[in-house]
């Protein structure tokens, strides 16, 4: 009796141990973990695509989970450090160097063009997942910076909607008129001065870049001029009040645009789905204002990339899932433009045939600006994640009157150089 119990316990322990170990189990089933960031509507299509993958590959089980962008990388770094890295990881362009530079991403080079098909891809776009000659990630989809706006408020104020050719001065005037027409209740624009993505777009309009060989690619004067531009908007009563600058980090529903407190907001077209959930069919996408006729500063950015962990025990299954998400026509149909324009051009075309809702708005926007879009710059260096937050923080201090632009600039410069060391 006693012996029987002990054997039972031991058996149980073995079963538990093998279950916890992850990876392959006795019946030949492989289990992999895939994590991404996003919101509920992205979760819906992603889960559907993963289910499809499982039904095609009955011997692979995929467990998934998602976070919002803000918490995603904190969780990821903790998991990797704890030796519990997920097998397949959605990656951000901004963090690519941060992770690949620390050798935690699998080199996919041997698979590219074979297990991971790239025949229907734009070769330059494949390259956006490459660092130092290694393919450390594959771009999942393409997006670009945009101005998301509320056409009703533009019409009510009697001003023109964003179109190619409008300038920053036009923007300020238009935003000011909108704000005045609502009696100041709704801001004409969302304050953009703390957002590195806007700064990057603005810099590129002036022929510069955020980084140049791992160093800051701009001067103090550039950032000063940018912060001054944001201040001009505030002085002209054309943008959101100070207490709203902290709301830009969360999901679309928390931003001034999501809360109906702003008539226009800088964003990425791939986020339109989120906006559309909180304000269905109310908003449109338009090009950035630019003082340069040649370019909008926006570029074909990998909206997200997908990587495998360098320590995954199931390389083949991980690679298979990556290829499926990127290149399977049915997966493409399910995912639509939720992450931006599909990277596989054939799938992009197929998705374009049958557009509706948010997907349609995103595709039409990309088409309207395509001729003015540039190629993606090299992925930002390690430390960019910290600089991104630093810019927000220093700008906040300016907006709240805690620091002058010059003080904030000096501090920004010192800390940014430190972060790049």
């Amino acid at each position: 009796m006693e012996a029987h119990k002990i054997v039972g316990l031991a058996l149980g322990a073995v079963l538990v141990a093998s279950g916890c170990g992850g990876g392959s189990s006795a019946n030949g089933q492989t289990e992999i973990r895939f994590i991404w960031w996003g919101n509920d509507d992205r979760a819906k299509v992603t889960t559907e695509a993963v289910k499809l993958f499982e039904s095609r590959n009955p011997n692979i089980k995929v467990s998934t989970s998602f976070q919002n962008f803000q918490n995603y990388f904190e969780k990821l770094s903790t998991e990797i450090a704890g030796g519990n890295a997920p097998d397949v990881i959605q990656m951000d362009y901004r963090y690519l160097n941060e992770y690949a530079g620390r050798n935690v991403l699998l080199d996919l080079t041997p698979y590219v063009g074979k297990e991971i098909r790239t025949a229907d891809w734009n070769a330059g776009f494949v390259g956006s997942g490459e660092l130092n000659g290694k393919q450390v990630a594959m771009p999942l989809a393409q997006n670009a910076t945009t101005i998301v706006y509320d056409p009703k408020l533009f019409a009510a104020a009697g001003v023109a909607e964003p179109k190619i050719g409008w300038t920053w001065a036009d923007y300020k005037e238009i935003a000011g008129k909108i704000q005045a027409s609502t009696g100041g209740k709704i801001a004409g624009s969302t304050d953009f001065g703390g957002t590195e993505d806007v700064f990057e777009t603005w810099l590129r309009q002036r022929g510069k870049a955020l980084y140049d060989n791992g160093k800051l690619g701009y001067s103090k004067d550039d950032l000063k001029a940018f912060w001054q531009l944001s201040k001009d908007f505030r002085d002209a009563r054309a943008t959101t009040p100070a207490e709203l600058v902290t709301t830009l980090n969360a999901g679309a529903e928390q931003t001034p645009m999501g809360k109906k407190l702003s008539a226009s907001e800088h964003s990425y077209d791939s986020l339109y789905g989120g906006y559309n959930t909180v304000r269905p069919d109310e908003l449109k996408l338009g090009p950035y204002p630019s003082d340069n006729n040649e370019t909008l500063g926006s570029y074909r950015k990998p909206s997200q990339l997908i990587s495998a962990s360098a320590r995954t025990k199931n390389k083949d299954a991980a690679v298979k899932l990556i290829d499926f998400l990127l290149n399977d026509p049915d997966a493409g149909k399910v995912l639509g433009a939720n992450r931006g324009l599909p990277a596989n051009l054939k799938i992009r075309e197929a998705v374009a045939q049958n557009l509706s809702g948010a997907n349609k708005v995103i595709f039409e926007y990309e088409k309207s600006v395509d001729a003015k879009l540039g190629d993606a710059p090299p992925a930002p260096p390690k430390g960019d994640g910290a600089i991104y937050k630093l810019m927000q923080r220093k700008h906040e201090e300016v907006v709240f009157g805690k620091k002058t632009i010059d003080q904030a600039l000096d501090e920004f410069w010192r800390d940014a150089e430190e972060a790049l060391k």
Binding site: Q70, N71, F73, E74, S77, T78, I80, A81, E98, R102, N103, V104, A242, E243, L244, V245, T246, T247, N249, A250, G385, A386, K389, Q392, R393, E396, E397, F400, K402, E411, A419
Partner: protein, 271 residues
């Protein structure tokens, strides 16, 4: 044999507390990015903390301000409610005790902090008032010290009050000359405990400020900055150094509190 019984606890204490502490002490002298081997850098992390990191000093300032406001406020509230409940003997005391304790049960929950964020929407987003909202959130969770105060109050012999009443002492006089001195060991205990807790506050600040310590670093708690350094900037060595400075600071402050206690804590058996 006694060590056998102590075994499970000892294993846990060594494996989950002592060993990680030793490792973190080692890491605090290194440059460690979580993924690659730590590099020995000697005292660099400590030197940088005090010499070259304004945000660190900001986080120290925010935390001290928080401790200085939230601890006394919480203790005063806890004591006031405990006095009130103590006078309710038998008239629903149990119910009200539970009711006032409830917020503390929910205390560390994310949901509550989110609700707080929503309630104090505009305050949270302004640098001058954001810390106030977190102090209020903490003070509102006075349940634990309140229950301890209440137990302490019920220990005070009734005849002291009766004798004082015969001598013509009023409510204030009884409070100042009997209740507070008799309660001082409990007060001391609560003070030490709450001070230590307050230095380690994290969840509320993390959730209320959206994990950033904003706006403009006005809610950059010590622990929040430590977390940011360690887990979002991958400077785990630096974060470990911060953790050790915090540990030593808390130990010192506790020691100082113990020192002062001999002047104001009355244990009843003296003289």
């Amino acid at each position: 044999m006694p060590y056998l019984f102590l075994g499970p606890w000892l294993l846990g204490a060594i494996g989950l507390t002592v060993a990680p502490m030793v490792v973190s002490l080692y890491l605090s002298f290194t440059d460690y990015d979580l993924f690659n081997e730590p590099q020995w850098v000697g005292l660099d992390n400590y030197a940088k903390l005090f010499g070259d990191d304004p945000r660190y000093l900001q986080s120290v300032g925010v935390t001290l301000k928080y401790v200085a406001w939230s601890v006394p406020l919480k203790l005063v509230l806890a004591l006031a409610v405990a006095l009130l409940l103590n006078s309710l003997r038998g008239k629903g005391q149990a119910f009200f005790r539970s009711a006032f304790y409830a917020p503390s049960l929910l205390g560390a929950s994310v949901g509550l902090a989110l609700a707080w964020r929503a309630i104090f929407d505009t305050w949270v987003d302004l640098p001058d008032t954001s810390l106030v909202t977190i102090v209020l959130l903490s003070a509102w969770q006075f349940g634990a010290p309140m229950v301890i105060f209440l137990a302490g109050l019920q220990q005070i012999p009734r005849d002291l009050f009766d004798a004082a009443a015969v001598d013509g002492a009023g409510w204030w006089r009884k409070l100042a000359s009997i209740t507070l001195p008799m309660l001082s060991p409990v007060l001391f205990f609560n003070l030490v405990l709450e001070t230590i807790h307050a230095f380690q506050a994290f969840t509320q600040a993390f959730v209320v400020s959206g994990g950033r310590g904003g706006p403009a670093d006005s809610t950059l708690f010590y622990t929040l900055y430590l977390y940011e350094r360690g887990f979002t900037e991958f400077r785990m060595g630096y974060a470990s150094a911060m953790a050790w400075v915090l540990l030593v600071a808390i130990a010192l402050i506790t020691a100082v509190l113990f020192r002062t206690s001999r002047y104001w804590v009355f244990y009843g058996d003296e003289r």
